[in-house]
C-alpha cells in the first residue's frame, strides 16, 4: 500500500509524537512516521508536488518524504527555539514560510540546497498563526499579543491591526478568492476583514467587515473552503462551526462533545470536512447532512494538526 499518485491521503499528527498518513476514502492507515519525541505536531502541510510532508512542533521543523518507505525525515531544521506554530508552501513550492513563538515569521528558499532563509518578519510577540494570500506574496499573521499583520514579502511592507485587546490571536485565514481575511482569538471571537487589491501592486487594502461571536471558548483554527463560500472555526468547546461567507451566518455545527477540535480541512469541492480532535480520532463529515462518513482511528493521543490536499476532477 504505497501512497500512489492516484491515492488521496490525509496526514494527521498530534500529541503521541507520530504523524500518520491515511488513505482518505477507506480510513486505512498507510504509514506512521516518528516525529520528535519531545514535541506534539503543531501544523502539517504538504509540498505542492505532494511528495513531501512538512511538520512543525516544539523546537523542530521536519520534512518527510511521502514516496519512500522511510519514516525518518529527509530535512531537519537545527537550532529551532520554542514552538513553531505554522508552516506552509508557496503554490509552486519555491519557498516555505514558518511562524514561531520566537516572534518571527521566516521565508525559506526551498529551491536552493540546502534551504536557506530569505526573509524574516518580527512580530514583537510569539506568532501563533500565519497564512499565505492567494496572490502568493502576502502573508497574514496573528500573534499572542492580539496583533494581526499583513506582510508583503516582496516589497516588505506590512500593516498591523489589533481587533481586540488582551486576546491572543489563535489563527488567521485568507479566502482562496482573496476577498476576506479572518482572524480568530482565544475569546471565541472571529474577525473578518475585506481585502481589496491595491492598484499599485502593493499591499492589499484592508477594510473591517464583521465580528462573529463564534464560540464560547477559544477558537483553535479557522479556514475558508476552497470555493470561498464557507468558513470553518474549530474550538475548544467541542464544536466546529461552518459559516456562510455571504452573510457570515452559521450554516452547520459539528459536535465532538467533550473534546477539543484542533484542526479542520475541506475537500476541494467544499462538500466534505475533515476534523482533528483531542479524542485521537480524525473524522470526515459530509457537510450537507452533517453525517459522519469516515473515522480515522489509530492515534493514541489528541490529534492537533491535519493536512489534506484534494483536487478537482473534471465533471
Amino acid at each position: 500500500m504505497e501512497a500512489t499518485e492516484d491515492q488521496l491521503i490525509l496526514a494527521t499528527g498530534g500529541y503521541d509524537h507520530t504523524i500518520k498518513v491515511w488513505q482518505a476514502h477507506t480510513g486505512n492507515c498507510i504509514k506512521t512516521m516518528r516525529f520528535v519525541e519531545t514535541s506534539q505536531v503543531n501544523a502539517l502541510d504538504r509540498t505542492p508536488d505532494k511528495t513531501r510532508l512538512a511538520a512543525c512542533g516544539y523546537q523542530c521543523i521536519r520534512l518527510y518524504d511521502l514516496e519512500s518507505n522511510c519514516t525518518a525525515p529527509v530535512i531537519n531544521f537545527d537550532g529551532v527555539q520554542k514552538n513553531v506554530t505554522r508552516l506552509g508552501f508557496q503554490e509552486e513550492g519555491k519557498w516555505m514560510f514558518t511562524a514561531g513563538e520566537d516572534h518571527r515569521v521566516r521565508i525559506w528558499d526551498m529551491i536552493s540546497a540546502p534551504p536557506h532563509c530569505s526573509r524574516v518578519f518580527d512580530c514583537q510577540a510569539p506568532v501563533n498563526a500565519a497564512c499565505l494570500h492567494p496572490n502568493q506574496v502576502e502573508i497574514a499573521m496573528g500573534s499572542q499579543n492580539g496583533g494581526v499583520y499583513l506582510w508583503d514579502v516582496k516589497s516588505e511592507e506590512h500593516e498591523q491591526l489589533v481587533p481586540e485587546m488582551d486576546a491572543s490571536i489563535q489563527d488567521v485565514a485568507i479566502s482562496p478568492d482573496g476577498h476576506y481575511m479572518a482572524a480568530a482569538n482565544n475569546k471565541g471571537n472571529c474577525y473578518i476583514w475585506q481585502l481589496s487589491i491595491n492598484p499599485h501592486q502593493k499591499l492589499s487594502i484592508i477594510c473591517p467587515k464583521k465580528k462573529i461571536q463564534a464560540h464560547s471558548r477559544s477558537i483553535l483554527r479557522c479556514k475558508f473552503s476552497p470555493d470561498s463560500r464557507l468558513l470553518v472555526t474549530t474550538s475548544g468547546d467541542g464544536t466546529a462551526c461552518i459559516w456562510k461567507t455571504d452573510d457570515f451566518t452559521k450554516w452547520r455545527e459539528l459536535s465532538i462533545e467533550n473534546y477539543w477540535v484542533w484542526d479542520a480541512a475541506f475537500s476541494a469541492d467544499s462538500k466534505w470536512l475533515f476534523t482533528a480532535s483531542s479524542d485521537g480520532i480524525a473524522r470526515l463529515w459530509k457537510l450537507y447532512t452533517k453525517a459522519l462518513a469516515r473515522d480515522y482511528t489509530g492515534h493514541s493521543k489528541a490529534i492537533t494538526a491535519l493536512s489534506f490536499k484534494d483536487e478537482i476532477v473534471a465533471d
Binding site: N28, T32, I75, Q136, H179, D315
Partner: protein, 609 residues
Amino acid sequence: MATYSNQHWLLSHIRNSFISTDDTGICETVMLSDDMPKHYLRRFQTATTTMDAHRRSGHRPPQATQQQRNSVPKTPDTATQSSQRSAPLQHMIPPRIADPPLQEVDFYCYPGLDLSDDEDLDMSTHSFDIQMYPEVGAHRFRSNTAQKLEKLDIAKRKAARIKSVNYNEEVLPPDRQDFFMRKPVNVRPAEKPSTSTATATATKVEKTSEDDLSDEGVKSKLSEQLAKSPKQTQNRFIQYARFDGTAQVGMPTKRINVYVNMLPEPERNYPLKICVLSTAKIIEVIGLVCYKTTLQYPDAVQLKSVQHYALYMTEDNDDMDDFPPLDNREPCSKFGFSHLTLAERRPLAPVTRIDYQQGTKSITSMDDKAAVAAARALENINLNGDVTDGAAGTGDGGDSPQDHVKEYEKRLLNHNDMLEAPMHRTYRLSIIDKRFFKCDVTLSVSGERIEIDQHKNAKFWAQRKPVSTPIDLVAHCEIVEQRQLKALLRIWLKSNSSSGMSSSCTSAPMSASITSLNAGNNTTGIAHSPGSPGHYPSHSSHSPFGQVSSMSNIRFKHYDFDTDVHTAEQIRNKLNCILEMRSSDIRREFLHQRVRKQEKQQAKRQLKL
C-alpha cells in the same frame, strides 16, 4: 539426595520442567489432573501402610529394606528386584496398564514430596516461576559497548541521509527578481459561481436537493473516491487497527506469524506476518489479524465477528496443536509463540484426560463427541446453577436464531470458566456445624479434591482435623438459600459409610448431617429452606420410599456453608464445572436420584389432589 535412577524424582522433575518451560500456561491445565508423581506417591503411601502392617506382624522394617536398596543396588537378596527394575519404566509409559503392586516396584519417593500430601498448596515446591533465559545455552548477549557502538553507527548513517538546515542562519535575500511573484487573483471570483450556476441551471436543478451549497458542478477527487467506496466496504475490524505495532512509535511490539485457517488453500499455507502492540489482549490480536486478512485478501473470505475465532498454538509447519486456544483476556506479551493459527473457535478444546480413579486406563480424546458433550455440560451447569433461569429459558421457547447466538456466546464465555475450574482456589467461609454452630473454615477447591480446614483461631471448640475429600466423591454443589447478602451453600458428597470405594477420604468429623436423597420429606428440593440451615433429618431411611427408589445403595451427605452470595456463586460454579468435566458417576447418580424423587413427589401430590 535424588538421583537419576529415582523414578519418582524423575517424574516429578519432568513434570515441573514441563510446567516451568511452558510459557502458555496450557500445560498446567492439561496436566493438572494427571499429577503422576503424586499419584504414585499416594500409592506408595498406601503401600507403606500395608508394609507397616506387615512389620507389625513381624516382617523386616521397610526402612531398612529401602536403605539397603539405595546403597547396595545389586545385593543377592534383591536379585528379584533387579529383574523388576525395568518394570517401572515400562509401566510409566502406559501408567494404567499392568500396574504391579507397588511394594514390588522399585520406587522411592523424593524427600520433600512424601512429606505432605497437601504439597500442591505450597506453590514454592513446584518452581512455577523458574524461567528459561534464551541466552543461556544459545549465544550470550553482546556487551553493552558493542550494542551502543552499533546504535551510534546506525544513528550516524541515518543522520547522513537527513539534510540539516540551520534555523538561525543569516537572512540571505533572494538574488532572483522573480522569486516572489505576485499572482493575479481572480478579480471577482465570488461572482463566478453565480454566473456558472446561471448557465448551468438545468443541471443544477437535480443537484439542489442534494446540496444547497457548492453546487456549481465541481466534483473533488475525494467525493469521487468516496462514491466508489460506500461505507459498508469500510473494514469492520478497523477498530483493531490501532493495535498494529507498525503504526505506533516507541511502544513495545511483538511479531507473530499467523496462519489464517479460513483462507482458501494456497493462502492458508503461508502465515500472515503481523506486528502487534505487546499490550494488546488476545482478542485484540484476533481483531488485528482479521483486519490484516481483510486488507490482504479482500475477496478471499467473508469473516465473521472476532468472537467466532480463536488463536491456537501451532508448529511452524502450520500444524495446529490440539490445545485449547489462547485466553482472549490475556495480553499477548504473556505468550512466546512465533507461530499461531487463527481458526474458528472450537466448542471445547480436545483435552486428553487420563482418569486414574477408575480401574482402567481411559484416555478420552474428545474430538467429534466433544462438541455435544461440552454443550451438554454447559447446559447442565446453567440448569444446575440456576434452575429458574433454565426453566424460563425453555419456557420462552428460545428457538430464535438470536437466542442461539446468545447461547453460543455464553458457551464461549463459559469455556474460559471451564479451563479455569480445575485450578486450585481457597475460600474463607463458615461451616454450619451441628445444625446451628458456625465456625470459620477455609474451603479449598481444586480439580482433584476439596478440603475443609478449620481456622486456627477457633476458641471454644477443639481443633478439628482438616477434611480432605477426593473430587470423585463429590456429587453436587448448590445454593439452597439466598438472602440479600448471605447465601447458604451446600456441597453434596458421597457418604463414606455406604461403600468401600472411597479410599483416602477422611471420615467427616464435622458431623455433617447424613441424609439419603430418597427421603420422602426432603421433597421440596432446592427450594426447601429450613429456618435453621442444615436441618435435614437423618431418619430418612425409615421412609418407605427410601427403600424402593434407591437402586444403587449410594447415600449422600452434605456440608453446609454460610457465606456471601458472590463467593457462594463462585464456588458453586467452579465446583459444578469441575464435576461436569469429570462426568463422575456419583454426580450422575445424585442428580438421577433427585430427579426421580421429584417425579415421585409430583406423582404423590397429584395423587393427593
